[in-house]
Amino acid sequence: MEPIISVKSLTKNYRLGKVDVPALRGVDLVVQEGEFVAVVGPSGCGKSTLLHILGGLTGPSDGQVCIDGNDFRLMTDADRTRFRRHKIGFVFQRFNLLPTLSARDNIAIAQHIQGNGFNPHRFEAITRMLGIEKKLHHRPFALSGGEQQRVAIARAVICEPKILLADEPTGNLDTENSQVVLDMLRELNRTFRQTVLMITHNPEAAGIANRVIHMRDGRIISD
């Protein structure tokens, strides 16, 4: 079966003034559909850069990235945006909800941007599973961190993305809420065979994944 994520010799350099700073120095990675992968490593090791490239938020400097059959080398910025809209769901450490919209609208806007219209059955199933059906009329400032992250997860998966990319999803949560969010991600992976790639510092969080990748200095050092 063709892997959902296939990365070969991926490099990414950032330019700071006149100096090129390498963030990724030749990453090879293959992820099959339905896997729950945790990427761990110290700050600055390139985890977030890898996640941003896989999500199409930024392009690679060199190497091959193929997601669900889409070769990033052949895609323009607009193509990557379209790809992200249909194939990728993001969960961020800082939740990144739109502060002026209610929880319901924060979730619904993802469906609106995707352009397939509001799917009430999917919406109900997801919000019930994440236990936020009674909080849908609240705006983010009226929700706890855990609730905000659950709304963010709902937004990320409402459009049935092929891959859920989670960037330190428990980084801003206490232990109890962290466990709830991790359980939700695990549940999504099990129930919907949702492919999840999660970045974390937390070894306990990484422990719920069925595969843990370690990174250092822009390279994968163990898989």
Binding site: H52, G55, L57, T58, A78, T81, R82, R84, R85, H86, I88, F90, F92, N96, L97, L98, P99, T100, L101, D105, A108, I109, A110, H112, I113, Q114, R155
Partner: protein, 366 residues
């Protein structure tokens, strides 16, 4: 959904919204009022000349179609000859004096019996006709605006005039004094600057006008309909430039405020734009959100501007009753279109900038 997003953004930043709406409202009200005042003054002046009841205006060679501007006086005797022409019912000589004392207005020096013969006579609200050489008639709008009553003294040409009567407005000037008195004061004995000619029937206007033209070659002979068609802002020297400059200023204010408002909004909402991009929002989607928000603010501003213009017109009418503001739907539409155009232009660059933000940088924005 975009509408919800826009509405929530607008409500979430009430000060920014209020300032933007206020700027557009000022722009719209300014355009409507400046244009309305210019057009109102011109058409009010024309209507009042028409209200004299004459069919033809006879004025000296080289006279401007604008009454009171720089014409050399003509002998009053011409009026007697004009009155003898066939199909002429009455002729009223007048000196039209531009008064710049306290305010800029026209004062008619009239021979009351002949002026009454042309105009059908004044309707008196108070007082009556001239009794003394230094008597003055004022119309009701002037009287209300300047709190003038019968017996009030008004200084004109360094002479005190007593208000002897208050008349219904609409017959030429707002103030009238006796022709002989104005001739004395301006050193124009037996002279007039304008003859108001009334035909036995308006249908004879062209025939009579042609006869006068043949007799008084080079004189300015204007049938009143032609005069009315000339009295537009397009024909008043410099007025259109003034209107254009004022409109440009108003649109400039609206453009700059919307530009600044949307520009700061983009900066404030960098992270939110990053979120939309992470969800797969295209550049077109982002541009559309920003432009629609600017359009929404402009629409509220236009409505507020319309209301503001109506209120200001009433206020101005109360304080300066002799300054008519003519508000037409045409110019309301132009003002709305100008405001919309200004705000779309003003928000386009910020929208483009938002669409081009790097999503990774935008998400990391603090």
């Amino acid at each position: 959904m975009v509408n919800k997003l826009i509405l929530s953004n607008v409500l979430h930043r009430p000060i920014r919204t209020a300032v933007s709406v206020l700027a557009v409202a000022i722009e719209v009200a300014m355009v409507i009022l400046v244009v309305g005042l210019c057009h109102g003054l011109v058409s009010d002046s024309a209507r009042r000349v028409e209200g004299v009841g004459a069919d033809i205006l006879v004025r000296p060679p080289g006279a401007s179609f604008m009454l009171g501007l720089g014409e050399a006086p003509m002998p009053v005797a011409i009026g007697q000859r004009l009155a003898e022409l066939p199909r002429v019912l009455a002729v009223a000589p007048a000196i039209i004096h531009v008064n710049s004392q306290e305010s800029l207005d026209l004062i008619y020096g009239i021979d009351l019996p002949s002026f009454n013969a042309v105009s059908g006579g004044f309707v008196y609200h108070a007082g009556g006709p001239f009794q003394e050489p230094y008597d003055m008639l004022v119309d009701d709008i002037y009287a209300n605006g300047h709190r003038v009553k019968v017996g009030t003294t008004i200084n004109v040409l360094n002479h005190d005039f007593r208000v002897c009567g208050i008349v219904e407005h609409g017959k030429g000037a707002r103030r009238f004094i006796q022709l002989a008195t104005l001739q004395d004061l301006t050193g124009s004995h037996d002279k007039a600057t304008t003859f108001f000619v009334k035909c036995t029937d308006p249908a004879y206007t062209d025939e009579v006008a042609n006869k006068i033209k043949a007799w008084l070659e080079g004189y300015n002979i204007l049938p009143i309909k032609e005069y009315m068609s000339l009295m537009t802002s397009n024909n008043i020297p410099g007025l259109n430039y003034f209107i254009t400059v004022m409109i440009a200023l108003a649109v400039g204010i609206g453009f700059l405020v919307i530009f600044l408002s949307m520009y700061t909004t983009i900066t404030e909402r960098t992270r939110e734009i990053g979120i939309l991009k992470s969800l797969g929002a295209s550049k077109t989607y982002i541009i559309s959100v920003i432009l629609r928000e600017a359009t929404f603010l402009t629409a509220i501003g236009v409505i507020a501007g319309f209301m503001g213009a109506v209120i200001l017109r009433k206020v101005m009418g109360g304080i300066f009753p002799t300054l008519p503001v003519e508000m037409t739907w045409d110019w309301r539409l132009y003002a709305a279109c100008l405001a919309l155009m200004g705000s779309i232009l003003g928000s386009f660059y910020p929208a483009l900038r938002a669409a081009q933000l790097d999503p990774v940088d935008a998400l990391a924005y603090e």
